[in-house]
Symmetry: C2
Subunit: 369 residues, 2 copies
DNA sequence: CGCGGGGGAGACACATGTCAGGACCGCCAG
DNA sequence: CTGGCGGTCCTGACATGTGTCTCCCCCGCG
């Protein structure tokens, strides 16, 4: 066992007397939380009335209402969401299962998601599967036991038994995966094929012909981007120049694939990577092979991760409107929670090319080979 | 209202018949979830016995145990965590309030946190305050209503009324902030002062004297790093060369501060930034002013964010063992949940210098000015 | 036959929302 | 003036799904 690099664990100085007066504790840890009953007693009413006041019922006299509110405030009363959930049959919780919290794409998506869910009175619970199907199932299991009102699957297709069963119990939105033939599952994706086309078109405008593609990991998004690349190349009558190498959505994978591509003769003058992270690997490979970007090689990524906007990198890339996608997912989910029998919907957002400094005109003499 | 860039929302094709057979639904959305009662009836026992079996009681005959387990499996029974929480008085939930989910530092910390919490049977609930004190209070309010068993504050010091009150009800761990005079609050930090010393020592070893510091936002971590810088400079008898500029933990802030520093005459030959993100801004400023790194200027960051390891950036930085910190926080919290009356503890981890390519020897003739 | 113990059942508690009904008041008609 | 009626305000009982505790039954053994 590798111990954590902890070098100090010390009790902090404490003034026991201050503690007693500040917290008004009995010395046995946190004080018990006041219940609706305590409020009722203090206000001299029944607990039902307290409930009515707190739920904003109009059939309460102003006199009692004030008494209840005052008592609640004085006691620092906070309704117990657990008990409320039990009787309401709703938890107002949404579970988001993320394939990889590290990917900044998901973080920004979650911003938009949480923002919108919050507006609908829903709270976000995040689980991280770390790309491990076992963790996926376990996290979903936890969500189901908690009786979350909705489920959001990020970069995860419901293929396992557990996940499929989950979608039959709980309104679900899948993000970034297509081809899901399940009812009560809405889908949010960007138009990957169009995004790929934008990238290729941009490179063609700069005179590039030998445009290669590094494919992403086994996911429908990667498949669609590759397909978009192929279609666009053919449309520009560049079918003879089609080159596809396989990467795995990682920087190292991108680096390896780029090495392979750039060792060809003639080598590509431009590379469209499945991913910003992969594109970063391409940049590294280019440096290692003594090629400068964009003079010798143009590079395009996908996602417009904040990485790509860093000055030193300045990567031309395809932007997915992540926040908007998050908001869409929230809207679809709220809708489905309201009426679970709704027809499954597919919401597709439009990607946009962001031109930075990793792309430029084709090198002189490179296209007459 | 700026509409989201949605271009398609279409009903997906559905085979209603398939739906009916697959989901066995009555056409009114998700089927009701089986309860412990349903399992009891199917197994021909009382619900108490089902509970005993599921909780692993030894005083159950093998015959009945099998009957119960079979019935539960056939019904797809999953215990209702809400009801269980209500009776147990524990939710097994931990709320983490993060100042900024975008900062990769927090994401990696959360990895370690979740990993360890999971081992203790606790689940992680994440709230994002976006640096807004109003959001902080609201998120904490939500956590309190949910009756989370523990609270983790990331980059947030409990100063507001609501937060202070929260710590008196709920075991709390604060990460990255010091000087908290509250009971039942444990603290996890790295030794910021030591980290700063490591950075300065490294630069001094390379012959640098005119070493500047860009201070972070108003937080105790930033204050300690600055103090560490000052102490280290004095220890090396470099007090006359002390230069401190203010940044705000953002890339843009770092860029501005670097511009100011690099416009001085004589200008610093090295900059120690409060943060990796700030350091990125310094790199940008250097490029803009025609200075190359590390030939003309050495740059050191803090955090060892994954950003710093990107090949094109390759930033020398001070590593905080984030995952280990996450695990420490989890351990402290579990401990305190077990015994809330524990004395408050401070756990300090040791930072480590990671040398990459943004630092090098002092430029020729720069130190004889 | 009595007693002990294993195995199982029923009742209660957790904190809240809801709903049916009850108390009280005022107004109107007899 | 009084009884009835309608409306307002409030209360008590019940329900949500589970864990636990007490009690009971029955079987086996002494």
């Amino acid at each position: 066992m590798s111990g954590p690099p902890v070098n100090t664990t010390a009790p902090r100085a404490r003034d026991e007397q201050e503690r007693a007066t500040t917290v008004a504790s009995d010395g046995f840890g946190p004080r018990p939380r006041p219940t609706i009953r305590n409020v009722a007693e203090r206000a001299g009413v029944s607990k039902s009335l307290v409930s009515l006041v707190l739920r904003g019922s109009p059939h309460v006299s102003e006199h009692r209402r004030q008494a209840v509110l005052t008592a609640a405030r004085e006691l620092g009363y906070r309704p117990n969401a657990v008990a409320r959930s039990l009787v309401e049959g709703r938890t107002h919780l949404v579970g988001a299962l993320v394939a990889d919290l590290h990917n900044p794409f998901y973080a920004e998506f979650l911003d938009g998601l949480q923002e919108s869910l919050h507006g609908d009175g829903l709270r976000l619970l995040i689980g991280n599967s770390q790309w491990d199907p076992a963790f996926e199932d376990e996290a979903v299991e936890a969500f189901l036991e908690l009786r979350v009102d909705g489920l959001v699957l990020l970069g995860i297709a419901p293929t396992s038994e557990t996940l499929i069963e989950a979608t039959s119990y709980t309104p679900t939105v899948v993000v970034g995966e297509r081809d899901i033939e399940l009812d009560s599952v809405d889908i949010v994706v960007d138009d990957d094929q169009l995004g790929a086309r934008l990238a290729v078109d941009h490179l063609v405008e700069h005179g590039h012909r030998r445009i290669a593609h590094i494919e992403g990991a086994r996911s429908s998004a990667a498949r669609f981007r590759c397909e978009g690349y192929l279609v666009a190349m053919r449309r520009h009558a560049l079918a003879p120049y089609i080159m596809v190498e396989h990467g795995d959505f990682s920087e190292e994978g991108g680096r390896r694939a780029a090495h392979a591509l750039l060792s060809r003769d003639p080598r590509p003058t431009a590379i469209f990577a499945a991913n910003d992270v992969v594109a970063l690997g391409v940049l590294t490979a280019a440096t290692e092979m003594g090629l400068s970007v964009p003079e010798d090689l143009s590079v395009v990524g996908y996602d417009n991760t904040h990485l790509s906007s860093v000055h030193h990198i300045s990567l031309t890339t395809v932007d997915q409107p992540r926040r908007a996608m998050g908001r869409s997912a929230a809207a679809l989910l709220s809708d489905r929670i309201g009426d679970p029998a709704k027809v499954a919907r597919l919401r597709q957002v439009t990607p946009q090319l962001v031109v930075r400094r990793s792309t430029g005109p084709v090198p002189q003499g490179a296209d007459n080979v």
